[in-house]
Structures are given as structure tokens and as C-alpha cells.
């Protein structure tokens, strides 16, 4: 009888991929943390961690209040107002996901509930024009009640099963609001795909908010109040109980923490915050439409919460700033194409400048430039229509770019295969090592420029989203615990 075949020894995988057996990551990274706290970056982070919470809040409010004085109205609206709106929304999600550790994929339904609720009470739809101080508390309480109902469902469901039921709930909400639109009191309740137009602006005791600046300050106040409230909540007994629930639900239950009640409480607080944000949003947009509450928004809010670090209130704000500012900056309606171009090239240069030693970096840059000129010469030699296309939105640098990058005109399939070749080139370059990698990097860098000029700049709206996706991937790899989250050891 032959011996059972021995399994082959596994190939050594990357250090990053190897499971850390028996290593406490926090202890192991003590050296790294010590290193990081030196220098300017260390000074900033130590200053940040050392200062009291009120100081951070006051500094933030002071800085935020200066925005209307140097931004024009459109920028204030898209960079300032929307950031605060998303930050407020993300605060609520932070309670459910960050504080209590419940994966709630139906969060935007509460946002929608608040918005539609306000629209029903303060618009031309049913002719009710309740003032905000009457309708908003009612809506917030109503949304919290819906959160209570959903929380009841969470008693039986754990983890990903809770996630899917909450997702169903959100999709049922959108389907109900957009398609079902039952007739109540003579009118379709939710207006179908047209939604409810003509919603009143916020009207507090007769004072109506109607300019972007007013809404911005109002949101700033609301956000600060919410942040303060949540800060106190987090440091209270309930907050500690939530943290225990998040880290280990079974142990928490064993320590006689009322787990079910806490879950429902988390849902209620989250729903209430979302409802409040919804009412403000409906007033800003002076209308409500089912398409405002789609899964894309859920993804954005989740990205904000996770990027900022789960459970951290300041982190939520930073996450909102990073995500919203980058999205709005990249959007084509932000009409600074030349700025975007230089930023893009600058980012590529920065990434390439990470090659050490400096001699290699210089070699790569010189090589790329030379490669470009050579390719350009060959292409224009083959046929002039390879290089006589128009460079879009280039301004002053148009001729310089035109002489280096090939910009064909009339070759219809070029965009598609150039893009695919670029993706393949990046994949291949990252797999090679040493001199081969340097050699592959040169044409890849040149091709990045070619694809930018020919494909990406032509469709700036789509490019914005592609770059956003790449940003998410890169940010998660750079800092998986989020900007202000703490590196946790997960005991599996």
C-alpha cells in the first residue's frame, strides 16, 4: 500500500497575504505607530488626539462659517451645503453601523420617509402648509417609529440576513413611492415618478429660509447640535453598551446588556436623524422625487462612514468632506478643465515619483518623454490623421500636448481598444519586477496620457465616476480602518 500523497508545500505568498497566526496586530504595529508620531504629520496627529472635543468642534464651526465669504453661491451649494447634508445623514448611519455594529442597508428609506413626510405636510399637494416647527418634530418622531418597526425585525435576524431584510425594506419603499402611489384623499399619495413638487421652504415661526447661505448656516447649526448630542450619547452608558454590542454580541448578552432593546434604540436614533435630514433636503430641493433615494446614495453614505472610520463622529465629517468635495470637484459642471488636467498629470507624476532611487525615477521620466516623441513621430509618419485631432479644453498647453500625445481623428475603434490596452498594461506592469517593470512602466505612463487626452477628457462626467471608484479602492488599501478609525484586531 502506498503512502498517502503529501500535499505540496505552498508557495510563499506576499507578506500582506499571509495570515497572521498568533500575532496581535496592535502590539506588532507599536513600532510603526511610534515612527509615525514623529515629524510634522506626527505633530498634527498628536495635537488632534490631545485636544478636547469642544475645541475641535469650535475650530470646525469657525472654519466652516468662513465658507460663504469666499465661495460663490454655486460652490457653496455643492461643496458646503451638500457636504453638511451628507455628513448629517452619515451621522445617523454611524449610530447604526458604527456605534452598534448593525449592517443596515435600508437606511435611505428613512431619509425618504422624512422627505416625503415633510412634503405631504408642507406643500401644495394636499394644501397643508404647516410651519416647520410643527411638521419637523412630527416627521422625526414618525420616522423613528418606522425605525422601531424595522428594529423589531432585527431581533431575529443577524448580520447579513439583517442587511438583506433592510435592503428589501428600502427597495419596497422606493417601489411603493414610485409605482404604487395609492390614491388617498383624491390625490396619489406620493406622486409617482413625478414626486411631490412645490414643497415649502423651511418656515420657523414665520421666518422663511430661502437662500443658500441661510440653509448652509442652518445645516451647520443642526449638524453641530447633532454631533454634540451624539458625542454625549456615545460617552454615556448607552454608548458603552452599544460598543459592547458591536464588539461581541454574545458576550454582551452574557453580561446582561439588553441587546434587543439596544438594537431597536440604535435603529430609532438612526432613523430619526435620517428623517430630520430628509425634511431639510425636501425643503432645499422644494420637491421630492423617488429617484432621490436610490441605492447609489446608500453607497455614498456608507463610503463616507467607512472612509471616516466607523464609530468616529469627526471621522464622519472628514469622510463627507473627502467624498463630496472630490465628487463635486471631478464633476463636469465644475468648469475648470485645465485645473483638472494639471491635477491629473500631477497625480501621475507623484505616483511615479515613488520609485527609488532617484536615478531610476529620472530614467523613467526621461524615457517616457522620449518614448512619446518617438511614437508621435512614427504615427505622424504613417498617416497624418493619427496626430491631427483636436485636444479638448487644453487652453495654453494645447500645442505642447499635441506634439507629444497622439490624438487621432477618424479612427472610430481607437477609444475602446486604447482604454482596454491601458488597463491590461497596468495589470501587466504591476506583476513584473525589477528592470522589466521599469521597462514596462515607460510605455504605460505614455499610454495613460494618450488615454486621458483621447478618451477620458471627452467624457468628463463618466471619468469622474471612474476616478471616484479608483479613489475608493486606493483609499481602502492605504488606510483600511478609515481616516479616523482605530485599527482593530478582529478575533475570527
Amino acid at each position: 500500500m502506498s503512502e498517502p500523497e503529501r500535499p505540496a508545500a505552498p508557495n510563499a505568498s506576499d507578506a500582506a497575504g499571509r495570515p497572521k497566526i498568533g500575532v496581535d496586530e496592535w502590539v506588532a504595529s507599536a513600532e510603526e505607530r511610534h515612527e509615525r508620531s514623529r515629524g510634522l504629520g506626527g505633530l498634527v496627529s498628536r495635537g488632534w488626539e490631545g485636544s478636547p472635543a469642544e475645541a475641535k468642534l469650535i475650530v470646525f464651526v469657525a472654519l466652516a462659517s468662513t465658507l460663504p465669504f469666499w465661495m460663490n453661491e454655486g460652490e457653496l451649494f455643492s461643496y458646503g451645503l451638500y457636504t453638511l447634508l451628507y455628513a448629517l445623514l452619515a451621522l445617523g448611519l454611524n449610530i447604526v453601523v458604527g456605534f452598534a455594529g448593525l449592517l443596515d442597508l435600508g437606511y435611505v428609506a428613512f431619509y425618504g420617509f422624512g422627505a416625503y413626510g415633510y412634503a405631504l405636510f408642507s406643500s401644495n399637494h394636499y394644501g397643508l402648509h404647516w410651519q416647520a416647527e410643527a411638521s419637523i418634530p412630527l416627521i422625526v418622531l414618525g420616522t423613528a417609529a418606522v425605525g422601531l418597526i424595522l428594529g423589531l425585525a432585527s431581533r431575529r435576524l443577524l448580520g447579513d440576513y439583517l442587511a438583506i431584510v433592510t435592503l428589501f425594506f428600502a427597495q419596497a419603499f422606493v417601489a411603493f413611492v414610485n409605482n404604487s402611489n395609492p390614491k388617498v384623499a383624491g390625490e396619489g399619495l406620493t406622486g409617482g415618478p413625478n414626486g411631490i413638487p412645490g414643497v415649502d421652504p423651511l418656515n420657523f415661526f414665520g421666518f422663511k429660509l430661502h437662500s443658500t447661505k441661510q440653509y448652509y448656516f442652518f445645516l451647520l447649526i443642526v449638524f453641530s447640535l447633532a454631533a454634540v448630542g451624539l458625542y454625549f450619547l456615545n460617552n454615556s452608558r448607552t454608548g458603552r453598551a452599544w460598543r459592547a454590542l458591536r464588539e461581541d454580541p454574545l458576550a454582551a448578552e452574557a453580561m446582561s446588556i439588553p441587546v434587543n432593546r439596544l438594537k431597536i434604540l440604535a435603529f430609532m436614533f438612526g432613523a430619526g436623524t435620517a428623517g430630520l435630514t430628509g425634511t431639510i433636503f425636501a425643503a432645499i430641493q422644494t420637491g421630492v422625487v423617488a429617484g432621490n433615494f436610490d441605492v447609489a446614495l446608500l453607497i455614498t453614505i456608507y463610503a463616507i462612514v467607512i472612509l471616516g472610520g466607523l464609530g468616529s463622529i469627526a471621522g464622519v465629517l472628514f469622510g463627507a468632506i473627502v467624498i463630496n468635495v472630490s465628487t463635486q470637484f471631478l464633476a463636469p459642471s465644475n468648469d475648470h478643465p485645465e485645473l483638472k488636467r494639471w491635477l491629473f498629470y500631477g497625480a501621475i507624476l507623484l505616483i511615479a515619483a515613488k520609485i527609488r532611487p532617484w536615478s531610476r525615477t529620472a530614467a523613467v521620466f526621461v524615457g517616457t518623454a522620449a518614448f512619446g516623441f518617438v511614437v508621435h513621430a512614427i504615427a505622424s509618419g504613417i498617416s497624418s490623421d493619427w496626430t491631427n485631432g483636436t485636444v479638448v479644453d487644453a487652453g495654453s498647453a494645447a500645442s505642447a500636448i499635441r506634439n507629444w500625445v497622439i490624438v487621432p481623428s477618424g479612427h472610430t475603434g481607437f477609444q475602446t481598444w486604447a482604454y482596454i490596452v491601458l488597463v491590461a498594461a497596468i495589470v501587466v506592469t504591476s506583476q513584473l519586477k525589477g528592470w522589466w517593470r521599469m521597462a514596462a512602466l515607460i510605455p504605460t505612463l505614455y499610454w495613460v496620457a494618450v488615454v486621458w487626452e483621447n478618451v477620458l477628457v471627452q467624457q468628463s462626467a463618466v471619468t469622474a465616476l471612474i476616478l471616484f471608484g479608483v479613489l475608493l479602492i486606493a483609499l481602502m488599501q492605504a488606510r483600511p480602518q478609515g481616516l479616523l478609525g482605530t485599527a482593530r484586531v478582529e478575533i475570527v
Binding site: E73, F77, P193, H210, S211, T212, D335
Partner: protein, 408 residues
């Protein structure tokens, strides 16, 4: 001590807020948050290239039709710039991500604050127009949309008020009411079929048309009108088709996406049902919707015109009709700006007045009728901002091989 400092800070904030808000005069419920009021009358130096904002859904579920609109606008730009080298136009794009109107609102505010923008093409969706027209109004820009077809935008209907302020909304496409009337009368008088089944795709455009045709037909005697809905994301229509009664003579599908109409047609035939399919201008796409024996209501496009042939050649032999009104909207803006810039400077208010009085000849508009806007109510469906003159829909029949022939 902690709580005291927070209270103090909030007090400061409250004072700041009241100080920064300044005088609040408007009490109009429709007024959205604004601040770029000064730009409405500001004079902008024209130069040789003028800026038009174009708001369209470049990404999101409506990207297939939004990008079509932009392609037509780009086509217009190339031809116009060649023909008018001293009055060139360039576009600033705004991605409105239909049906999420929050993006459209941000685009509206950014366009409003961009002092170089003199004219506006879009937004594409009726819901978007509803929510952004107040912002545009306060900045002095007029919405010139190629696809916002809801009747309520220009005309009060029943108990509902007109949704846009006069002089700030124009559309280069006849509205749902006109199209619905045309279709219903054709079905009743020419096709003479009485068993109709209407399926809408749960979007604003589709529901408006479906409601109009349904109410028109039901008002006549002897008509059996069934109604159903299907989501725009659905590609498998088998369940919906199962529900259609087998003796139905006409299935009216006022959808926005021609490929869906084609899928529906093939699946309907595969299921053995013989009803005639009747589409709307959203499904008007020779080359894509080729179901033989079907009808489509659309603008009376002349497929042999120079421009349409050039567009077809530049796009792989495919005709795309959804973006045609956007082409017309772009012409309207370009001509209005050119007129306002005769003296070297222009303001948005001037451009707006020119848009209101514009007259684009039939050959230039590509829609089969000249473009001019009403300033008063007309008939039962039209109001100020709608297309006046002879603008109306035509009925096409699709023959063997996918050929479109005008029949009504």
C-alpha cells in the same frame, strides 16, 4: 464648563447666522435657495466663443438617452462653429444623473453662479425642471429643454397650477398632451380599433402620455382600455405579456427606450400574440425599433435632409432621434446669444428675451417644423413656452425591413 462653552459657541453661531442672512424679502413658496441674483442682468463680454450650459444625464439609468442628446448637441456645435467662426459656442456640461434630481439641483446652482454661461440647454427630465427652474429663474437663465414634456410645466390643469414661471421655461418638443391627443385620435379615426392595452414604464414621460391616451379613449364609447405598468429596468416582459388579454388589438407602449420596445415586440410575437404595437417618440429609432407592422408617433423628421444623413454617417449608420430636440434647443440658444452679442456684450436677460421671440426656420430645426414659442395659452394642452406654429406629431408606420413611412 464643557456644556457652557458649547452653549456659548452655539450662541455665536446663531448671531452669525442672522447676520449673514441679510434682508429676506421674497415669500414666494416656489423660491429655492439662491444667491446669484446679480448675474441676471450682468453684462458679459462676448468675445468670439460664448458659453452655453447643457444639463443632461451623462451617467445613471438614463445615460443611454442623455448621451444621445449630448451627441446631437456636439454635432450642432461642430457645424455651427464652422458656419459662424466669429460667433462660436462652447458647452459646459452638467451631469444631472436622472432620476436623482439632487444632482440636477447642484448642477443648476453651479451653472447659475458661472458668470460666463449665457444660455441653457436642458435639463432633460420634467421632474428636474420642476425642481430647478426656480434656481435658474433667480439667476436669469431660461430653461430650454428638448425632452421635458409634462403638460403641467406650461399649463394649469384641473386643480394643479402651472409649475414654471412665465418666460423662464421653453421646450423644443410638443408636450405629452399634444402627443396623446394625436395618438388617441389616430387610433380612433384611422385605425378604428377598440380594444387597446396601455403599458407605461413608470417614468414621468411615459405616465403622462399613457394617462392622456387612456383618458381620451375612455371618453369615447365602446372602447376597452386596459392599463399596466412595467419598470424601465425590466427586460423580460413575459409576465406582462401574459397578462395582456388575447383579443387585444393595439398595445400602446409610450416608452423612452427603443431597445426595450424592440424587445417587447419580439417577445410579444414569440408569445403568439398578434396585437399591433404602437410606440411614442421615445421609441422612434429607425434601426433599433424595427418591428414590422408597428406604429410610432414622432416629429415629422425628414430622413433625407443633409444634417440627418451626416449624423447617420458619423454614427455607424444608426439614426438617433431622441436627441433631435436638443439640437433644436442648442440652435435656439446659439441664435439668441448671437443676436444679443451684436454689440459686443450680452446679459442673460437679453438672451432670454431673444429666446422668447426666436424663430428658427423649418430646414434648420430638423424637427420637420419651425421653432417658435407661444406666449399665451392655446387650445386645451398648450401654454406659454410650448412650441407654437405648426408643431405637432406625425404618425409613422414601420414596414418590412424596418423602414419608417409617414402615414398620418
Amino acid at each position: 464648563m464643557k456644556k457652557l462653552s458649547i452653549v456659548a459657541m452655539l450662541g455665536v453661531l446663531a448671531v452669525l447666522a442672522t447676520a449673514a442672512t441679510g434682508a429676506s424679502s421674497a415669500t414666494n413658496a416656489l423660491q429655492a435657495p439662491t444667491g446669484s441674483a446679480g448675474l441676471a442682468n450682468a453684462l458679459v463680454t462676448c468675445g468670439t466663443t460664448r458659453t452655453i450650459g447643457i444639463a443632461y444625464p451623462a451617467t445613471g439609468p438614463a445615460a443611454s438617452i442623455g448621451q444621445q442628446q449630448f451627441r446631437w448637441a456636439q454635432f450642432f456645435q461642430t457645424r455651427w462653429n464652422k458656419a459662424h467662426p466669429k460667433d462660436k459656442v462652447k458647452f459646459v456640461q452638467g451631469d444631472t444623473k436622472l432620476p436623482d434630481t439632487a444632482a440636477a439641483l447642484a448642477v443648476a446652482h453651479q451653472f447659475a453662479s458661472n458668470s460666463s454661461i449665457l444660455g441653457l440647454v436642458g435639463p432633460a427630465g420634467s421632474q428636474e425642471v420642476q425642481d430647478t427652474v426656480a434656481v435658474f429663474k433667480s439667476a436669469g437663465l431660461a430653461v430650454v429643454s428638448g425632452s421635458a414634456t409634462r403638460v403641467l410645466l406650461t399649463r394649469s390643469v384641473g386643480g394643479d397650477q402651472r409649475e414654471t414661471p412665465a418666460g423662464y421655461f421653453f421646450r423644443t418638443v410638443p408636450n405629452d398632451g399634444q402627443q396623446g391627443d394625436r395618438v388617441a385620435s389616430y387610433i380612433a379615426s384611422k385605425l378604428k380599433k377598440k380594444r387597446v392595452y396601455i403599458i407605461d414604464d413608470q417614468e414621468s414621460y411615459s405616465q403622462g402620455l399613457a394617462d392622456q391616451v387612456e383618458s381620451n379613449l375612455k371618453a369615447k364609447s365602446g372602447y376597452t382600455v386596459g392599463r399596466d405598468h412595467v419598470a424601465q429596468t425590466v427586460s423580460d416582459f413575459s409576465s406582462v405579456i401574459t397578462r395582456i388579454p388575447s383579443n387585444t388589438q393595439i398595445v400602446y407602449i409610450p416608452w423612452q427606450l427603443p431597445p426595450k420596445a424592440q424587445l417587447f415586440y419580439t417577445q410579444l410575437r414569440a408569445a403568439g400574440k398578434t396585437a399591433t404595437v404602437f410606440g411614442s417618440d421615445g421609441t422612434f429609432a429607425p434601426g433599433t425599433f424595427t418591428g414590422a407592422g408597428s406604429y410610432v408617433s414622432a416629429f415629422p423628421v425628414d430622413f433625407n435632409s443633409k444634417e440627418i444623413k451626416a449624423y447617420r454617417a458619423a454614427h455607424g449608420g444608426q439614426d438617433e432621434a431622441f436627441g433631435l430636440p436638443t439640437y433644436s434647443a442648442a440652435i435656439v440658444n446659439a441664435m439668441a446669444i448671437m443676436k444679443a452679442c451684436k454689440n459686443g456684450t450680452a446679459s442673460r436677460a437679453e438672451v432670454r428675451t431673444n429666446v422668447k421671440n426666436i424663430k428658427v426656420p423649418k430646414a434648420a430645426s430638423l424637427l420637420g417644423f419651425p421653432v417658435q414659442f407661444l406666449s399665451k395659452n392655446k387650445g386645451k394642452q398648450q401654454g406659454p413656452g410650448d412650441m407654437g406654429g405648426t408643431a405637432d406629431f406625425a404618425i409613422f408606420k414601420i414596414g418590412a425591413g424596418g423602414k419608417y413611412t409617414r402615414v398620418g
